[in-house]
Subunit: 496 residues, 4 copies
Amino acid sequence: MTTLGHLIDGVRVDDAARTQELYNPSTGEVAGRVGLASRATVEEAIAAAQAAFPAWRDTPPAKRARILFRFKALLEQHADEICRLIGQEHGKIVHDARGELARGIENVEYACGAPELLKGEYSKNTGPGIDSWSDFQPLGVVAGITPFNFPAMVPLWMFPMAIACGNTFVLKPSERDPTSTLYLAELALEAGLPAGVLNVVNGDKAAVDALLDDARVQAVSFVGSTPIAEYIYGRACANGKRCQALGGAKNHAIVMPDADMDNVVDSLTGAAFGSSGERCMALSVAVAVGDAAAEALIDKMRARMASLRVGPFHDADNDFGPVITRAHLEKVCGYIAGAEAQGAEVVVDGRGVQVPGHEDGFYVGGTLIDRVTPDMTCYLEEIFGPVLLVVRVDSMEAAMKLIDDHEYGNGTCIYTRDGEAARYFADRIQVGMVGINVPLPVPVAYHSFGGWKRSLFGDLAAYGPDGARFYTRRKTVTQRWPSAGLREGSQFAFPS
Amino acid sequence: MTTLGHLIDGVRVDDAARTQELYNPSTGEVAGRVGLASRATVEEAIAAAQAAFPAWRDTPPAKRARILFRFKALLEQHADEICRLIGQEHGKIVHDARGELARGIENVEYACGAPELLKGEYSKNTGPGIDSWSDFQPLGVVAGITPFNFPAMVPLWMFPMAIACGNTFVLKPSERDPTSTLYLAELALEAGLPAGVLNVVNGDKAAVDALLDDARVQAVSFVGSTPIAEYIYGRACANGKRCQALGGAKNHAIVMPDADMDNVVDSLTGAAFGSSGERCMALSVAVAVGDAAAEALIDKMRARMASLRVGPFHDADNDFGPVITRAHLEKVCGYIAGAEAQGAEVVVDGRGVQVPGHEDGFYVGGTLIDRVTPDMTCYLEEIFGPVLLVVRVDSMEAAMKLIDDHEYGNGTCIYTRDGEAARYFADRIQVGMVGINVPLPVPVAYHSFGGWKRSLFGDLAAYGPDGARFYTRRKTVTQRWPSAGLREGSQFAFPS
Amino acid sequence: MTTLGHLIDGVRVDDAARTQELYNPSTGEVAGRVGLASRATVEEAIAAAQAAFPAWRDTPPAKRARILFRFKALLEQHADEICRLIGQEHGKIVHDARGELARGIENVEYACGAPELLKGEYSKNTGPGIDSWSDFQPLGVVAGITPFNFPAMVPLWMFPMAIACGNTFVLKPSERDPTSTLYLAELALEAGLPAGVLNVVNGDKAAVDALLDDARVQAVSFVGSTPIAEYIYGRACANGKRCQALGGAKNHAIVMPDADMDNVVDSLTGAAFGSSGERCMALSVAVAVGDAAAEALIDKMRARMASLRVGPFHDADNDFGPVITRAHLEKVCGYIAGAEAQGAEVVVDGRGVQVPGHEDGFYVGGTLIDRVTPDMTCYLEEIFGPVLLVVRVDSMEAAMKLIDDHEYGNGTCIYTRDGEAARYFADRIQVGMVGINVPLPVPVAYHSFGGWKRSLFGDLAAYGPDGARFYTRRKTVTQRWPSAGLREGSQFAFPS
Amino acid sequence: MTTLGHLIDGVRVDDAARTQELYNPSTGEVAGRVGLASRATVEEAIAAAQAAFPAWRDTPPAKRARILFRFKALLEQHADEICRLIGQEHGKIVHDARGELARGIENVEYACGAPELLKGEYSKNTGPGIDSWSDFQPLGVVAGITPFNFPAMVPLWMFPMAIACGNTFVLKPSERDPTSTLYLAELALEAGLPAGVLNVVNGDKAAVDALLDDARVQAVSFVGSTPIAEYIYGRACANGKRCQALGGAKNHAIVMPDADMDNVVDSLTGAAFGSSGERCMALSVAVAVGDAAAEALIDKMRARMASLRVGPFHDADNDFGPVITRAHLEKVCGYIAGAEAQGAEVVVDGRGVQVPGHEDGFYVGGTLIDRVTPDMTCYLEEIFGPVLLVVRVDSMEAAMKLIDDHEYGNGTCIYTRDGEAARYFADRIQVGMVGINVPLPVPVAYHSFGGWKRSLFGDLAAYGPDGARFYTRRKTVTQRWPSAGLREGSQFAFPS
């Protein structure tokens, strides 16, 4: 059994004094080990990034972008292998991994436009004979800390843009499924990134703290749960860094009485159970407006869920795979049990699902719970499992109040045909990413990803235009040339 | 003697359980008192702002901007009175106050462009039949904490834009010279701002902490010294807020051998001694490249400084006025003494200057110190007085290293006629605001103000385009309409 | 009776060799005369503009904008007088003139943001050590030719932005109602515009041709009818100029079966009859989808039109006033008669309306014609009178085809509550300005005004962001400094 | 000998009723034939483009861009073949063809950013409850007419962006060297462009006129000589189309007395003689300020030119190749003879150069002519050959006046080390593309290419951001939803 190391200054580095086991959630078996970087190893990575910075910052943006063009091609060429590595450690089905990778590649494509995105602002004559311009310069060494649920996509939200902007990068992927991430980084080097521009350290909190405390790290991007996001943001900021920390979610869909219910059920099914609900944009609460809508929704969901298939990652006929660990499986089942105990009605129960031939995999089946109320634990917390809650309300205003009162503000959706309802909802709801008949309103790569309330700490969102701003800092130059200079001289005209 | 109160929900509110004296630094006399708000008073202001938010956010941006158009006109109309109030409590000469106000008004002018600045990004067909747009929405209640040295300009950096973006505002000006600030706020109300949209609380650390800790405050803008900036940033971020905190400076000018020395001396004189050096953009260190440049600089500066006039604020013939307090006077003189003790050469000594008729005023004369070295206390710390240090180096690279090694990175300047030297300097120097033959490279209102290193904490600079981004948050909407709707129906065509 | 002259280089100039009468359409009486400029007078205006250009182009944009801030204030201060002058010569009711002026002032407000709008694009390191930036420079002398129907608004679409961009301007207003336009220009000079920056020549085709043929005129903006627009565009372009020429319209509203019919009728009434229909954005064709919608529409319109009041401009109780000339009155009535003759049904007939006390005024009452078909003359041509046609179709697709088949593509509207229908319509219809439940979708001043098809010739629309682009030209600078220059020299460090 | 056909609707189409010979200028031999399309064939291409438009416009921009990503990869993969085809028909040396292709590929890279470039402007609350957005929609069928001197680069300036914006394209390349252009188009189809999206017709004026007159063609981009540009612009505009027509040039470099003369000579050599001077950005006039500068320049140029190698395209050791035709060779030699006759001094004479083994090739050697004056024919007209003129003046102002007085305003350059001279020049010179120590200031692909004066007709420049604007038209939507709709209904809450 091999032990996964780190990627520092262009080479694989071992630091396996401490290690952690890597599981294949589809079988429940241990499939490998990953070394957990010491502070010294993290500092070595930071030093490599620091050393690579001066030459990289001076590389013309168009030339930096050209490496990303090649990186995109390599990602497409090696997509099968990347998706296999994702599936093996994370458990998501191959088509789902493909989707994740496609979304990640879109971020590479966007970063290819760096020369356009880095344009500064130029003002002639801010005063008589005075010009001023603002330039967006790279920060230096920046760090990314990414979660287990998107081992390819979330790193691709970060490092391509950071690097396109002229920074060098230290990435710490999740220690639960780091293999595909490390592979991506190696492809980036193969595409032509100079050694030290992109470094990967595997590790746990020790590595994170080393990144947060090192004065050479100028900025930190984080995606994970809200408690950790809050910790990262507080500590990075206390250390004077810029930081963006994306946390948890509880994404509601309002189902209006005029909604196209077949469309609702089709799209909710994917949004709630895809990737076992282990997505920060998973749609985990359906808010039915009126009992008629609720009844129709429940009936059709129950019917639709009968054909849902859960199983191992390599079988493309499955709709979704296992959850990430046995402990998480138990936590998810605990939420279902709690809901039942607190009075909700478990309409479809995914606990105890059996996958023949994979009895030790970490499987939870699709679960539908009706008559959930806002005081229940399953409603208040993020379950991160294939569980869809239904809350019933009497009016659209009540549905919106429910959403606005929740701690999180990542994504939300309304199902309606009515233009006015959609506009009212989108304008006022206190959530950062809003869908109108779109249950997973993940912004495309040329917009930016960011929740509101306790789903994001910081003032710039992830990727897209905000990403370019987060990874650069403004420098403003004001220029006036003394006159009476060469231009007006006459001595040169008739040299003796 | 009157006690200045607070401005909450459109009316003057007294909270004078604790007060502090207001001085006239030109005479050294106490001229009034200011009440120091309790936590309850601050919370009252926040509550007023919170209550005013929903209607203000829904007011069309063009209509909000129209109030700022009127505000600009009122500021121009009442400029004399504003400048008198500034001079009386701060000590700056009337022409300097005029300059401060003019710069402040430029920020109001920029905020008048809110409808343009708030434009979101619209993308048709992000997928088949799917549209996406990002909108920049106001945050809610935001707070500004401003310093004594620009009682009009720095508040005008903040609240006009914040308000133009649809936020409501709680401003805590410096407790040393709050009267002009409060007057500005009253003019804003006179211009048509609804009650509660702009509130002013006077106070000290208790008020600041109340703002930092209140969950209703979404964002904090601060300008002041670096230790306080660091405190504010850490505490605001730990509370999950967005924050921009601007701190101290030590702004160097490189004087190249080819510089137009008359231009250098003229412009340095204003940049070093104007406003008694109490500006975060004051040019406090001249770095002469080569002894020949140094000698020429010293000679011409000495001659130029002979005619410098220091005196009370109301006499427009003075070049600059007193410093803010007696304690600060002593601190500045202490730096001069320390420089002398550590081996520097005090070429022109401003200590013990006498202003006839104003013997108790807080005056320090223009001071020039040669042969300063980077280890001296006067070099390492921000003096914030009318003191210009000269450091001698052998090469431009050495001059740049000096600047880059300093803790602060607010402003800097190079004096040269050489295009290559200017470009090299502007590109590489680790400072946020760079002048080429411009010693005070304060960005115009349509660019943004921000230092690097320990001169600014946060990722967006103050005012200008960054201001508009800081005071808004992105919401991204993704929309798809189910087809088979009204449009395709045929039943309506031939009703029975 | 006075004869209106011209405004050249800051002074009133007479050139009245040829004159034309000015009518008061509300009474039908001649109220004055206007001189028609000779080619020499036009060239004098161009020469004045040319002479004023160099200093004006070098005036910092922020300073240029500050004059527009004052201009806005003067327009607001003199609004009553402006509206009286408009009403007297054009005939529109005072509230309508107020609306026109308000829309015009919004364009001045937008132009106040010139420093932001003129920002160029700055790229560091387009190659190693090479920087590039694009700057938007003024063109020089530009000309505007404006129509009778908006004597204040359309000139304000043009010259404030042109001037804010650093150009100088020659304006030729309509010779039918030039007095208010000339007054505006005088207020602009009062606000601080230097002489020669804005010039006004009154005149007819001779003046137009002089502007089109003069090599010093760099660009031409025109608003008027399509045949003239086509002539202007062809001739200006043949002379190598840039040109934008806005022409006629036939704006359709689709009334869907699900529309809120009360809202339809209320808003159509204003959009069809306001300003006697003499607006290029007037809503002149209602396309009812399904006979049920048609019947409801006709019934409610007939009822609503019973209370429509037509009368002289100074009576604010009137809904609309006379048309511009007696000849135009006869033309409008001719279209109504022609419709009747071709088989349409005149539901409400505005011909022969009597306004007591103003029997000689040029009045046509509100007219509603049902069962219009696409082959009728009244449908094919622009009537420019208070006449609303109703066409009946069976489906939304048929309604859209009708619109797309029409020669013009200025504005259009759909009335519906359905999100999908609205999106489909807005996406696909071949019209430049689209309303969803908004019958007069005139873009706000911070967007741009432009029709499609034969409603606009040119590639940039009027006012807003396109205006700023039309009135500037891009200059791109690429800069590399030879190294081995001053910076690397060591000789200066230790001068002998 | 084969006859080159056309590419219509995805297939090669023959129309060889009329043909023209294709030469290999390096040998002077006929190498093939090209069919000259009839009006019917052009109309067939337009019809194919028109038919392909609806589906292509509805293809999401990101998906369109993805085809361009593949196209870029194919261009890189087939670079050798493309450059061989260019060299064979045009004569430029392989390294020069490589440079041309690289520049062309940069435009494809830029067009890959279409999703960002096509973002519209979105404004919430332009009025109460009213939203407005502007969208940039494709035009339909657009045409490009390209010159012989860049058979790969100029087509790549046009069709990738036009297509990325959703238009379909008809390209008419130069009939002198169409083979490489046709090959590019085939690679674009191979990359995945649907049939009909990109069509190529070979032809002469008949084909051009067919494109200009067809009502289905919405816009025309042209690059060529000024007389043709003027003809195209006039005719396209008279037909109501939008048009950008780029014409000729006479690009001057000012050599200031402080210039780094080795750098001047190195860079001028490439800029004047590269591609035999057959570039619209070729540097054809050096303006020496002061006789000292002139003498130094002449001496060093003469020395440098001694090693210039002219010869056949396939030998990479050559500096440049033949001119395009024998007729053109004679024309260039005529200009040299004329200069001599009018009194200029031919310092280095390229007439009658012999290339062993290629005696019939169309070669002119590098030519340097001193003491040229502004009245000489060689100065007034564009030579388009390897001829560098030197004009001597006494001051920088005189040099600038020379440039501003010339009919053309494409590119220009100043050689200096002085910041003030550079800024003054770049700000004021009446030329669209300005170099500071850069003799060929061709803007990078993410800026735009456009001369001033008679070098460009139209208001938007070629490629870059202006390209995206030229190939789209603005549509502005204004939306208000009637309230009292579904949202406020209560009937659905408690269905009976």
